[in-house]
């Protein structure tokens, strides 16, 4: 089994500030980490390898500094890491990112399974995983909440939805995006860290990939950010007095009615 895990380096979210003038994230001086939700995809890949054997390749698109995120993945036990890094990729939106990653996967492939986190904690779109699947014309299952098991030419996954779970059989190769429930990420070991320090991170540049240079980077991105703003949060709070048993009874009834009216009960 050959598995690719797509990861992204993101600013560590507890230290992120938003520039009040521009409404954009202040990234300078902020610690960069592996997108926390990608750690679950890495763990699922490692667990599949433990059960079924095979090889895992971590792939990221980002600036040269994103190498450290890939090293963290290697220290957790990933076999090989590849970074798609090229100035011409800079400014890519989710469409372009999916396009470039798909091209890189084609180059590095074939893979039986491509795993992604549910979404990145910085952009928060959750679009790149499904985008990659579309570019590669592969089936995709999002919000996978288990470590899949495998049958002939397929994998069985549980999909977490608003109403419960879907149990799917998905034809391989496939793209899966996984949620936190799927597995608990392991910590890198000392030996893993030492191995990762010396690991070679292969770099893919635009010319290494079969991509149309007009469709990558900022100028190739169809997304235009017209305006960003912080939504105004308005909360209307109603206080119900509950000073004695009678009032508590009444207040509880009112809370139940309130929740019923909104279909929350």
């Amino acid at each position: 089994m050959r598995i690719a895990v797509l990861i992204k380096q993101v600013p560590e979210s507890s230290s992120v500030r938003i520039d009040p003038e521009t409404g954009t994230m202040v990234r300078s001086g902020v610690e960069a980490v592996v997108n926390p939700l990608d750690l679950y995809a890495i763990e699922v890949a490692l667990m599949i390898r433990e059960r079924n054997g095979g090889e895992i390749v971590a792939l990221s698109m980002g600036p040269p500094a994103a190498e450290s995120a890939l090293r963290e993945a290697v220290s957790m036990g990933i076999d090989a890491a590849v970074l798609a890094a090229d100035r011409r990729f800079a400014g890519s939106d989710t469409w372009c990112t999916g396009y470039v990653l798909a091209a890189a996967l084609r180059k590095l492939g074939p893979f039986d399974l491509i795993l992604c986190g549910e979404r990145a904690t910085d952009g928060d779109t959750g679009q790149v995983g499904p985008g990659v699947a579309a570019f590669l014309d592969l089936p995709v299952a999002t919000y996978v909440s288990n470590v899949p098991d495998f049958g002939p030419g397929l994998c069985r996954v549980d999909r977490l939805t608003e109403d419960g779970y879907e149990h799917l059989e998905v034809q391989l190769p496939a793209v899966l995006t996984v949620v936190k429930e799927a597995a608990s990420p392991r910590l890198p070991t000392l030996r893993g860290k030492q191995r990762a320090r010396n690991a070679e991170i292969a770099i893919l540049r635009a010319e290494d990939l079969d991509v149309d240079l007009d469709r990558i980077g900022l100028k190739g991105s169809p997304t235009r950010v017209v305006r960003t703003f912080q939504p105004k949060v308005t909360r209307q709070c109603r206080r119900l007095p509950a000073r004695d048993d009678a009032e508590i009874e009444l207040a509880a009834d009112q809370v139940i009615e309130f929740l019923r009216q909104r279909n929350l009960l």
């Binding site: 980490v33 963290e72 910590l187 890198p188 070991t189 000392l190 893993g192 860290k193 030492q194």
Partner: protein, 475 residues
């Protein structure tokens, strides 16, 4: 200084208090709102005591007026920070007024040229370092409760915590204090000076005085350049013996001074991991060391943790995990910081202890604690700061013991525990303080003449016994 000599807080006194701080900042005659101010984080309800009034002043001048009033009316006053203490320092054991410093929460000045910060006592400790980030400076105090505790309480208890191995405890960083004395005088001690031998070292007398000698209203702290990188090792060991045995080798054989060496025995790490739903393979291990290394850059830190990690493996560690970013680092420190909370869930009847021994005596102390547990037939989970000899052994009531039996037998168990610590050159509290929780045990570790010195100091500064009476020693 006995209870009989104190007067109750009358409606007239409450009115005067309102006059000093404003209506909104006095609670009087409302038991429901006073209740939270009658205890700290000690688990046992028997250590709690209700205040008669709560006052939340905004300035040193207000505090001075309150203390003068209290002296005139013979009403005890107990200063309180965040109430996260573990020896009852903030508990008003004689009732009276609780003086809560939560409104005095301003960072007054950051002085990068002198490497100091001056703060009010109600600043949450963690906030200090948040604010210092942009200056590339840091304050080295790191009590485990740093997300909630106040710096004023840290100074009053001379809080230690996780980084004392390398950086020492709170007192090392206090260079200046503004103090309102028990009789209501406001004095400034020290300043921003690195050296100062102008008479008695009153600052260090105030540090760790548990709110009995003065109320701090401004605190100047020495800062250090922020270490640019750090990493944590989580080392799993087969047994307590092997883990504790590795500590001297780590401290002396690697040439690296770790920032922290925290120890957790099997029971502690299990409780914390289960509480946090943590998936570290702790079930196979008998003990854990959490070791932090910091330094000027990533390479230096890598060299440091390589040496320490290798030493741990040589000494018999089953596995060494490395956390070198905010995500993983927070994850493993959370295990350590959650132990106390997790235990409270396991059993509310326990006594969180704070013994400290010279570091070479740690293995003997740990073995002695296990022997005591066996002798008494109860669990004494043990965790703490292995690098500085400060162990939080925590006797937990055996399920088959009745509460009466627990209260009856605990003092004897503690006496045995403390005697053992003392026989190894240790003492009964390293960082939590004496408060009213441990004061009856003071004669085990201090000579009568030493206790008399303490009483003489207390009487000289607080002739009416107004400020936080009933703590540290009986008058």
């Amino acid at each position: 200084m006995n209870t009989a000599s104190y007067h109750p807080v009358t409606a007239e006194i409450a009115a005067e208090l309102r006059n000093v701080v404003g209506d909104r900042y006095v609670v009087y005659g409302d038991p429901e709102r006073l209740e939270p101010f009658g205890h700290d984080e000690i688990a046992g309800p028997e250590y709690a005591h209700m205040p008669e009034a709560l006052v939340r002043p905004k300035s040193a001048a207000e505090i001075a007026r309150i203390l003068k009033l209290a002296n005139r009316e013979r009403v005890p006053v107990t200063p309180r920070g965040a109430g996260s203490g573990l020896s009852g320092g903030a508990v008003p054991v004689h009732g009276g007024i609780v003086l809560c410093l939560d409104r005095m929460n301003r960072i007054i000045e950051i002085d990068p040229d002198n490497l100091t910060i001056t703060v009010q006592p109600g600043v949450v400790t963690n906030e200090i370092n948040e604010r210092l980030k942009e200056y590339d400076l840091f304050y080295a105090g790191y009590p485990m409760s740093l997300e909630t505790c106040f710096i004023g309480g840290n100074v009053a208890e001379n809080a230690g915590g996780g980084k004392a191995v390398k950086y020492g405890v709170t007192g090392r960083y206090v260079t200046g204090l503004e103090v309102v004395t028990p009789i209501g005088e406001t004095v400034r001690l020290g300043g921003k000076r690195v050296k100062d031998v102008t008479g008695y070292n009153l600052i260090q007398l105030m540090v760790g005085s548990e709110g009995t000698l003065g109320v701090f209203t401004e605190i100047t702290l020495r800062l250090r350049p922020r270490p640019k990188a750090s990493a944590d090792l989580l080392c799993l060991f087969p047994t307590t013996e092997v883990a504790i045995g590795a500590v001297p080798r780590i401290m002396t054989g690697t040439g690296v001074v770790p920032t922290a060496i925290e120890f957790m025995d099997r029971t502690s790490m299990q409780a914390a991991c289960e509480y946090l739903n943590e998936s570290i393979p702790y079930r196979e291990a008998g003990a854990m060391l959490l070791i932090t290394v910091d330094g000027p850059d990533r390479e230096a830190v890598e060299r440091g943790y390589d040496r320490i990690g290798e030493a741990c493996l040589e000494q018999g560690a089953l596995e060494v995990y490395v956390a070198d970013n905010a995500t993983t680092s927070e994850r493993i420190w959370k295990v350590r910081r959650s132990i106390a909370e997790a235990f409270k869930l396991v059993s509310p009847h326990q006594s969180l202890e704070d013994i400290v021994v010279p570091i070479a005596a740690i293995p003997e102390m740990a073995a002695g604690i296990e022997a005591l547990a066996e002798e008494y037939g109860i669990a004494i989970p043990c965790y703490g700061h292995a690098g500085d000899g400060n162990l939080h052994a925590t006797p937990v009531k055996a399920p088959e013991w009745s509460l009466e039996e627990w209260h009856e037998r605990l003092p004897q168990l503690l006496t045995d525990l403390y005697r053992l610590a003392a026989s190894l050159g240790g003492t009964i509290s390293g960082e939590h303080g004496i408060g009213h929780k441990r004061k009856s045990f003071m004669p085990l570790v201090l000579a009568p003449a030493a206790l008399d010195m303490m009483r003489a100091i207390k009487r000289a500064l607080d002739p009416n016994g107004i400020l936080n009476p009933g703590k540290i020693m009986d008058g």
